[in-house]
């Protein structure tokens, strides 16, 4: 907002002298064209949020996600180790001639 008002003031000052008229006219035309260029390149659709604030949140979320996954993998490995320990002890197999409780 600030920038545009100071530019406006400068332009109004320029209007006093005739050469300045041409300058401001050319300035206007240039601004018009520069504004147009992003519209012409419309083919390039933003497939990823460009604002740095958004990007930080996304990368942060990715890091947290990987922490979650690695944590889960570690826990599963712990469970596997425990189960293999139990299985090696052989206590999960049923005894062959176990008496029935009749």
């Amino acid at each position: 907002m600030f920038k545009s008002t100071t530019i406006h003031k400068k332009m109004l000052n320029c209007l006093c002298c005739p050469y300045a008229y041409i300058k401001t006219l050319i300035f206007f035309l240039i601004m018009l064209f520069l504004g147009d260029i992003p519209l012409l390149a419309q083919e390039n659709v933003e497939v990823f949020p460009s604002a740095p604030y958004d990007r930080f949140i996304i990368y942060q979320a990715l890091v947290l996600f990987w922490i979650g996954i690695i944590g889960l993998i570690v826990i599963i490995k712990m469970k596997l180790k425990e189960i293999e320990r139990i299985q090696d002890m052989g206590i999960d197999k049923e005894e062959k001639d176990i008496p029935f409780l009749d």
Binding site: F65, L72, I75, I76, M78, K79
Partner: protein
């Protein structure tokens, strides 16, 4: 003080850790999915800008519909020459209402509700009167705003 026996078994510890982590992980992922699946656009607008030309020359005692977000709105030229704007949606079950110029009433066909020109309920199940908007004209534009909303037009 050192305990002689551990408070929980190894199995319980592992299973709780596993279950808890899985729940946290899945609910986080599921939340992300739901954020996408639930529609982001769905609020009613605070105000709507229309072209004055299209709406000021309608005949007396008639309505012209306009889009209020995704819902129906009416610009209503009353028989006493006042122009007002209202939401053309019945306060009962949100069916669209119609204006009956012969009776000078609004009618909802879903459950046969009747409203008068000021939106007051005359007959039928609707619990509340019709919602009216504030109508202001700024040059070529007609601004329809929710009651109480200060409209700040962008400098376009």
């Amino acid at each position: 003080m050192k305990l002689k026996f551990s408070l929980i078994s190894r199995r319980q510890f592992l299973n709780t850790l596993f279950g808890g982590w899985v729940v946290a992980f899945l609910s986080g992922s599921f939340y992300a999915l739901l954020k996408f699946a639930f529609p982001t656009l769905g609020k009613e607008p605070d105000f709507v800008v229309l072209n004055a030309k299209d709406f000021l020359d309608i005949p007396f005692n008639s309505v012209k519909p306009f889009a209020w977000g995704g819902k129906l709105g009416f610009i209503f030229k009353r028989p006493d020459n006042k122009t007002v704007a209202l939401k053309g949606v019945c306060t009962h079950m949100e069916c669209n209402i119609a204006y009956k110029p012969e009776d000078k009433k609004f009618y909802c066909p879903c459950h046969k509700g009747w409203f008068d020109m000021d939106g007051k309920v005359l007959e039928g199940p609707p619990p509340k009167p019709l919602e009216f908007f504030e109508l202001t004209q700024e040059g070529e534009k007609l601004i329809v705003a929710k009651k109480g909303i200060k409209v700040e037009l962008p400098k376009a």
